[in-house]
Symmetry: C2
Subunit: 478 residues, 2 copies
């Protein structure tokens, strides 16, 4: 029932975000001219910049700024043996059921629950009918208890490498980036001569053939991940789980996410994945309620052990200064434990859009209200818009373009806009989340100053032209 | 025969590059512990940084630095109707043949040619045999003319979205990023209110089920593209083709590629794709000869026309200040022509590795020779390595780490290394392509200076510590 409501009527804020995304070119439905594709989305000019910025911030803080973490970029199609060993080929499935009345297909584990044996009423063919709930749940669409058998539906996308007829050519699209870090563990460790604790980080697309896709880009079949596997001595795993849950929570806060909309939630014993010894979710208060943003799990040595067994290759790390418990001497081979902070990049983009969205009513000084995306300057697609006050004045447009070039040379994404009145241009930039606007006007000719306008409070200062880059750069680093 | 030689014995330089890539963590074979997967590669800690830098440079010059180009990031799985309309489902195939003698499978269009009806000799079962060439080509492995029929093998990877049994669930992995720009043409144009000429740029993975994969990461089934579609009035297409072929050529040169290893080659009439009205290849002198790096084609309005027909949606742009040839009045709807510079990111990574690779013999001052990657500083995975001369001196290591932090804060990827003697550390950085090393030593304590060592000529200067960031930053922008 909850599910049904979400599908037909997303909460108000979600509708506004979806509308803004389409109108301003953040996110379009994929293949829209062909009627769209279920749960696939394209990031437009603003969206691609926002997503790139989110992912670049993650890479900066998780890889570049740390001595103990290195990067990886593995292929999406890996050997099928990887997914057999990881358990994805055998077990990565959802229980699927068809409703015999309305033909809707749904996940049994997400359907509305009722007590077995109770009489339920539902609508079929325009009439109210009754039936006995034999299964403990009913159809989420029409409420009927007349259902097909449950069958397991594997979430892996299957394809073939090479011609189909060459024996076993089945391969899978990766459902997570994580396994590549396990499979490459020794390659990376040895080329970089790393000692646990150390991490391997990866960003990239993953694919899950989800039956239930929902909430715009929150859950889709093709999505982008930001995952890091942190390999450590087994006894240190609880300490690092604590450490990473806090690091990751702080990352969102440092990028401007409102603290009251974020929480850390420990998984209950019965929620834990079979391989996990402790897990936290960073949850966000979405318009539909608290829901997952990122999971930080202690995966133990489960994955390395599975791959060691399946490949027949030793995946242990040799630590010369660790005591061998069996011999009492120094030097021991062991499988590290792994702490995994696993975030969804596309989901994080949605979260930042929701969190940054604000509407201001008209006020004393302004006839019109405004929509403003209060994105952190480091996340904003455009950092600074440079606006000549008058389009027809070639000195102004030339000077404005010069300023744009100066920003770009300093690695700051600047945008030139001369269309429409200055108020409308400001409004467009507010909606795009641009934190700074620089306006070039008549006075610029006289004294070399420009106006800088701040998105959040609409304050305007007169500054020297040559200070512009420094001022914006400084704000970006705050 | 040429093909065969390449497979069994890549030229010397290629072997060195493959070895360096594995040894230093640029590129690993995918799923190596499981025996690897045909033609799939994983980018290790250094490789992922190099690839990111190549792609970031492309994005900077193609999107950020231009007023007339915006970005896009579309889904890999698009509506199958896109690939029907584009002709990929029907026609995107290779002629495939099996050799009846050695069982090798190969592409007919790449096989060694012989005249039909001539007698050829080949080896089978250890004996020399003869046969008549009936097909105009022979097996590239054993030279036999005893071949199966040709059959068309489609290069699209097929998969299913949703359960397989729900009617037509077949979808494809995109074989190129380009089609997303055509399909999103009007969405992007209208949200950004763009007027031709303007471009839409995209980077990302594409997939082609290639039979012949070769030369390491040069041609693989999963690869990464950097494509831009530049929409312009039809009569301007020749001008923009000229413009973009030169822009793209210069891009490689500006990033340090040796000019003598690059050339622009116009396609012959019979080489042109059926949709193209003019095409240039940027070619590089690989160890196996001149071969493609990037194609710049005039795709005319072929793609927009096809999608307009197939979707039934008007994809014309309305230009209010263009004369309608039918009425003679201002204002006309038309389908823009498209100039497409299409580069391979993975291929470009290989090219830069090859081009930057250098071996220096021992010289008067140095007992040992060295391997050095002369990558452009903007491409180098690590920009600066900071090395405390002595690992046991905590003041030195603390100061070195401080310097690393100062670089990172300024967006410069710095790396801390205290392992081994300083000479070996320099050698490691040379091989990784790191343009600058900064060494902190006893004198640093006394006068606040450090040594900066330049990769290319091994020159060492003594500089003030606080100048280090500025000096490196300046060199990066040269």
């Amino acid at each position: 029932m909850g599910d049904k409501k979400k599908k037909t009527a997303e909460p108000d804020l979600m509708q506004k975000i979806v509308g803004l995304c389409k109108r301003r070119g953040f996110v379009f439905q994929s293949s829209e001219i062909y009627g769209g594709l279920k749960s696939a989305y394209d990031y437009g000019p603003l969206g691609v910049e926002l997503k790139r910025n989110v992912m670049a911030e993650w890479w900066r803080s998780m890889v570049h700024e740390r001595e103990d973490v290195v990067g990886l970029d593995a292929s999406i199609i890996m050997s099928p043996k990887v997914w057999q060993a990881s358990g994805h080929v055998g077990g990565f499935s959802d229980p699927l059921v068809d409703c015999k009345v309305c033909k809707c297909r749904f996940r049994a584990d997400k359907a509305p629950q009722v007590e077995v044996g109770t009489e339920v009423t539902f609508r079929a063919g325009g009439k109210t009918q009754t039936g006995i709930a034999e299964r403990g749940y009913v159809c989420p669409e029409c409420g009927s208890p007349e259902l097909s058998e449950e069958r397991e539906f594997n979430l892996l996308f299957k394809t073939n490498l090479g011609p189909v007829d060459t024996g076993d050519s089945t391969v899978y699209l990766r459902p997570e980036t994580a396994q590549a870090m396990f499979v490459n563990f020794l390659n990376v460790q040895s080329t970089y001569r790393l000692r646990p604790p150390f991490g391997i980080a990866q960003q990239g697309k993953s694919f899950r053939n989800e039956i239930t896709v929902e909430h715009f880009i929150f859950r889709s079949c093709e999505f982008e991940q930001m995952e890091m596997e942190y390999f450590c001595p087994p006894e240190e795993a609880p300490k690092w789980l604590d450490y990473w849950k806090q690091e990751r929570f702080d990352w969102y806060v440092n990028l401007g996410c409102k603290k009251e909309n974020l929480r850390l939630r420990a998984h209950e014993e019965d929620e834990l994945a079979h391989y996990a010894d402790g897990c936290y979710d960073v949850e966000y208060k979405y318009p539909w309620g608290w829901d997952e943003l990122e999971g930080i799990a202690n995966r133990t040595n489960y994955d390395l052990k599975k791959h060691q067994e399946a490949s027949g290759k030793k995946l242990t790390y040799f630590d010369p200064v660790r005591e061998n418990p069996e011999t009492g001497k120094m030097g021991v081979h062991y499988l590290p434990y792994v702490i995994e902070p696993a975030a969804g990049a596309t989901r994080t983009v949605l979260m930042f859009l929701l969190d940054a969205y604000d509407e201001e009513p008209p006020s004393e000084g302004r006839k019109e209200g405004r929509v403003v995306l209060r994105l952190h300057p480091r996340l904003a697609p455009i950092k600074v818009a440079v606006l000549p006050l008058v389009k027809k004045d070639e000195w102004l447009t030339g000077k404005a373009r010069e300023i744009v070039k100066a920003f770009l040379k300093n690695g700051v994404n600047a945008f030139y806009d001369e269309k429409d009145a200055i108020g409308r241009r400001y409004a467009r930039q507010d909606e795009a989340g641009t934190p700074f606007c620089i306006t070039v006007d008549g006075q610029t000719k006289e004294d070399g100053t420009v106006t800088i306008r701040y998105r959040d409070d609409m304050r305007q200062d007169r500054i020297k032209l040559e200070e512009a880059v420094d001022i914006v750069n400084k704000k970006m680093r705050e």
